[in-house]
């Protein structure tokens, strides 16, 4: 395996004076690799991404562990330096394109202002970069679109712009938090393909958060399955789809509806498997002295 660009070690987080949310999470994303992070709602998938990017909700506190980005431990840095490091090396593709662009600003400045004000580019360079990027995400008439307000564009267009914006400063790591969930099914596929295309072209490490195993098989190299904030499986994509190790992952895979068998019955994850996995989590908690 190539060198990890992002390396999370034994990350613990909990709600302030409340229950744990992440239980000793470790995962790696190598340069140019795509790692998918799957799990049910509430498993803590998004929290991992937010912890890396330093945008955890106020009520959530990291209680232990390390987050290494390009050889530097983010959690050991003073906040101002962490902010700079993240800004220069990482970016995100948000979940909801409708709220991820500021309605009060034109599209262009939302891509370029950060390059100019924070990373010190010249205005001309930034503007040229924005036009180039819009071309890369297949938006025609870039100059015109850059002068528009977000409300003048459709959801799919906005997500394309957000993807362009994420790649603007050539970050080495991008965290995509369910980037297709808020979109139409028909648009989902295009956006997915676009993210994969951009990732390959720029050789970016990508952490792809999703609850959709169907999506996973299309984009990832590696996969992490999360249950109740605990990693239950960490495998390469081929290994996972061939023979998942953990019973929970096996049931999860079996639960995915298949196009080849449209009339087949749905197989929810059996209660016994959930109970078993919960018991593992409880055992972890006892071992580490949580409630």
């Amino acid at each position: 395996m190539t060198k990890s660009y992002l390396s999370i070690r034994d990350l613990n987080a909990s709600i302030h004076r409340g229950p744990p949310l992440l239980r000793g999470v470790s995962l790696d994303v190598a340069q140019g690799e795509v790692r998918c992070l799957v799990g049910e709602s509430g498993a803590g998938k998004s929290m991992i991404g937010k912890a890396v990017l330093g945008i955890l909700p106020r009520a959530v506190v990291v209680t232990g562990g390390e987050i290494w980005l390009d050889g530097e431990n983010l959690l050991a840095m003073p906040p101002a330096k962490r902010r700079k490091t993240i800004g220069a090396k990482a970016a995100m593709i948000p979940q909801d394109p409708l709220t991820a662009l500021n309605p009060s600003h034109r599209v262009g400045p939302q891509i370029t202002d950060r390059l100019v004000d924070i990373l010190g580019w010249t205005r001309a360079d930034a503007d040229a970069r924005a036009v180039e990027l819009l071309g890369e995400v297949h938006i025609p008439e870039a100059e015109r679109v850059l002068k528009m307000y977000p409300h003048e564009l459709s959801g799919g267009m906005r997500q394309r712009i957000l993807i362009a914006s994420a790649f603007a400063a050539e970050p080495k790591l991008i965290i995509a938090d369910e980037p297709t969930t808020a979109l139409d099914v028909t648009v989902q596929k295009q956006i997915l393909r676009l993210i994969a295309e951009m990732q390959r072209r720029h050789g970016t490490a990508l952490l792809f958060v999703t609850h959709d195993l169907g999506v996973v098989s299309k984009v990832g190299n590696h996969l992490t399955v999360l249950f109740a904030g605990k990693v239950v499986e960490d495998a390469s994509m081929r290994e996972f789809f061939a023979s998942p190790v953990h019973p929970y992952s096996r049931s999860l895979l079996a639960a995915t509806p298949k196009y080849t068998d449209p009339t087949g019955s749905l197989n929810p994850v059996p209660q016994a498997v959930i109970d078993e996995t919960m018991a593992e989590v409880a055992a972890y908690d006892r071992e580490h002295g949580h409630g």
Partner: protein, 283 residues
Amino acid sequence: MLDGRSQVKRRIGARLWLSGGWLALLVLLAIFAPFLAPKDPLAQDLFTSRLPPFWEKGAEAGYWLGSDSLGRDVLSRIIYGSRVALSVALVAGLLTCLIGSALGLIAGYFRGWADLLISRLIDIWMAFPPVLFSILLIAVLGTGLESIIIAIVVIDWTRFARVVRAEAMTQGAMDYVDSARVAGSTRLRTMLTEILPNVLPTIGALLTLEMGIAVIVEAILSFVNLSLSTDYPTWGGMIAEGRISVHQAWWVLVFPLVALFLTVLSFSQLGEGLKDRFDPVLR
């Protein structure tokens, strides 16, 4: 690919024209009062007391809206009164807006102890009865234009702080704020460049509303004789004087009242109209 809603043209409605027109007229009257007022607003003449407005019997040329019991020209006094009304509206409105919005923005975006402090302050502030509070303040500060302005600012900042705080909280939860933070924007920069522009339409609407309120408060304080000296024409003072002689000379009461009513209404309508036109609600 494009959103059709963006093609809708938003017209300047009658509401915006009428309210803006009245306020523009008022501003002109206030600025050029010495040239536009037909008479000296302070000149008393007992021979011409209680003259009716021009369309009634017994009216005298030059006294378009009649005269009061001391023979002072009502129209001239209304024109000069607009100076007080507008300066209070402008200065008190802007100051209240500035202080209240800043505190609301900080509380709503930064949250934490700043929010705790400011929110408790608002709660405590709002427990005071405002009229009593203002009379108390004037009693301490002494009468005069500055005192009125200070009283309005001190009492009404909570109006902005509360609404702006709530709005900033809503905006603060949006994904674009996270995007800005990830890109390396400091919290202060995020507040000013990401949150503030989206709260601005609300602040604008509140500002015009507050200007209307300031005009009313000034009138109330004049009415109870806590504003300027009774000699200087203020709409509130005129209403107070007109009230005494309403059965003999209704015009002394009614015309300043109409001016006051139109002005306050125009401020609130202007705010609504501007919000309709410029709010990027088509999100």
